[in-house]
Subunit: 342 residues, 2 copies
Amino acid sequence: MVDSVTPILEEYSAYTDGQMKAVLNGRKNVGRLYDMMKYHLGWLDEGFNDCRAPRGKSLRSTICLLACEAIAGDRNKALPAAAAVELLHNFSLIHDDIEDGDEKRRHRDTLWKLWGVPQAINTGDAMDIVANLSLLDLDGSVKPEMMIEIMRLFNETVIELCEGQYLDMDFQCRSDVSVDEYITMVSGKTAALIEAAAAIGAMVATEDEDVIGRFKTFGRKIGISFQIRDDILGIWGDPKSTGKSAKNDIRNKKKSLPVLYAMEKSKRRAELKRIYVKEKLSDLDVARVFDILTEAGALEYTQNEAQRYKDEAMAQFEGLRLHKAPMERLQAIGRFLVERDY
Amino acid sequence: MVDSVTPILEEYSAYTDGQMKAVLNGRKNVGRLYDMMKYHLGWLDEGFNDCRAPRGKSLRSTICLLACEAIAGDRNKALPAAAAVELLHNFSLIHDDIEDGDEKRRHRDTLWKLWGVPQAINTGDAMDIVANLSLLDLDGSVKPEMMIEIMRLFNETVIELCEGQYLDMDFQCRSDVSVDEYITMVSGKTAALIEAAAAIGAMVATEDEDVIGRFKTFGRKIGISFQIRDDILGIWGDPKSTGKSAKNDIRNKKKSLPVLYAMEKSKRRAELKRIYVKEKLSDLDVARVFDILTEAGALEYTQNEAQRYKDEAMAQFEGLRLHKAPMERLQAIGRFLVERDY
């Protein structure tokens, strides 16, 4: 299953990369400012020489392109938006890495680790703007009124992302986070941008508000599903596939969905909460949390939720006349999101 | 002289503040995210109770409003842009304070000092977007094509700001910064946003490209002049007026214009450079640098430069038919910028 998705993501990702490179290379050099962005994107090594380091799955930009293609039969018009979405996602990763103190991303040193927090903050700020400027490249291929609507949606998305990030950091200091609050948080932090990717892909292709609305809802729900699967991999994932250590999220006391579920439903929830207030968890603590989650059926619950959101996402397309090949690709990506092991 | 400008700045600042408050209060509360912005803006104290703490001069938003008023005879249409410019300026201050490690701003603890670097980065990010959203409130009162032009200019401005900030941080690690490089740096870091303020104020009022171009050039040059006067106050300013310690910029080894001038022109430039490579300057070092600058005529040179840029800025308005009262206010502000002692 996964093997049917990898070539799709690779093809669409290469297409978007071409545009992102054009945007970044189109700017006048200012010291190493743009080179640091290219390092983060995996195109340069830390000595600023060309390289090909692993990047993310380019899920957001691929969804943006496929949404446009499914409606219009052609993905080209959405390219500046796909690049914008990917640049924006990477801006948020640069700042998240600082905020979370993460020293590694995809086996490479993070930007702040190499060049310090001040330059990393500033590089992230600049990348956020490059994303906005890339989006403005749509101008001329969509009506001015639609261009403004897209800019508004894009900015509303970024602020929702910041709101989600606020909540995520806030949750780490609180012991009373509910499952509902969790959904609000991931809805902002992860799903908003996937929603924007799908919606803007649609807005470039059509003015039909019903169709645009369906792609929006699709994006939001598929985004939540994506994050829930991430939570599963953070606890039950195979380190060989995920590249992270086993039971990583328990060790980091992450308040992810399986944990919040057990905190609400497990008979041993008092014990679970006592462990979670500790400064640092021992190996024994981690094993006990893992047992509590298993006993409470947290894996089944969480996987069912991922499946449910994915099904609700896919149901959006019922009754719409869409192009077959890109729709099949979107469906393959949907399945991948809830079944992936990386 | 200063006394004639204070009431202007106070009046226009109160007008812009009303709009900024409307924009921020229009957002749904997310924990303390928007309250932290309001703290930074001086409206809330650190316990999130109402207060009236001193804020900046609101120079940028006032120039934006006056540009519109000078052309159209009315400032109202520019209000969302004035709020956007002021919000953007404050976003950059929040991030600058982290990047420079400054613990105080206007006698109050900085955001990162109170709530930590991660939340401060994220709050700044969100404020940048609130600025963009405020700008989009112009939609409906300008043509869609002009709205897009304004969004493009605004984003080009922010990226120039980041480029300027990159250079500023880079300069602190280098010993060979030229006066020309300095002008490029402040042109981005300070003047770009003042240029945008004046230009957008004009774009809201007219479609005449010549007039818009003149206000742009005015903003850029007055912005450089503003920064140069800042450099003078950082060395020769009276602590009682500036609120900073005496010879503050020398003590911090800031590579400001008077210092760069002396590094190029002073007979004692070798001695100056030797002092500037030290980790920390003693009181004696500070006194010696001060002597070198005085001997080289750095104060006269720098003040002449501030005056020259200000005169070039003001010359932009020659031959234009503009409304008298707002023009006189703009001229008063121009004079204030090169003569102010705070």
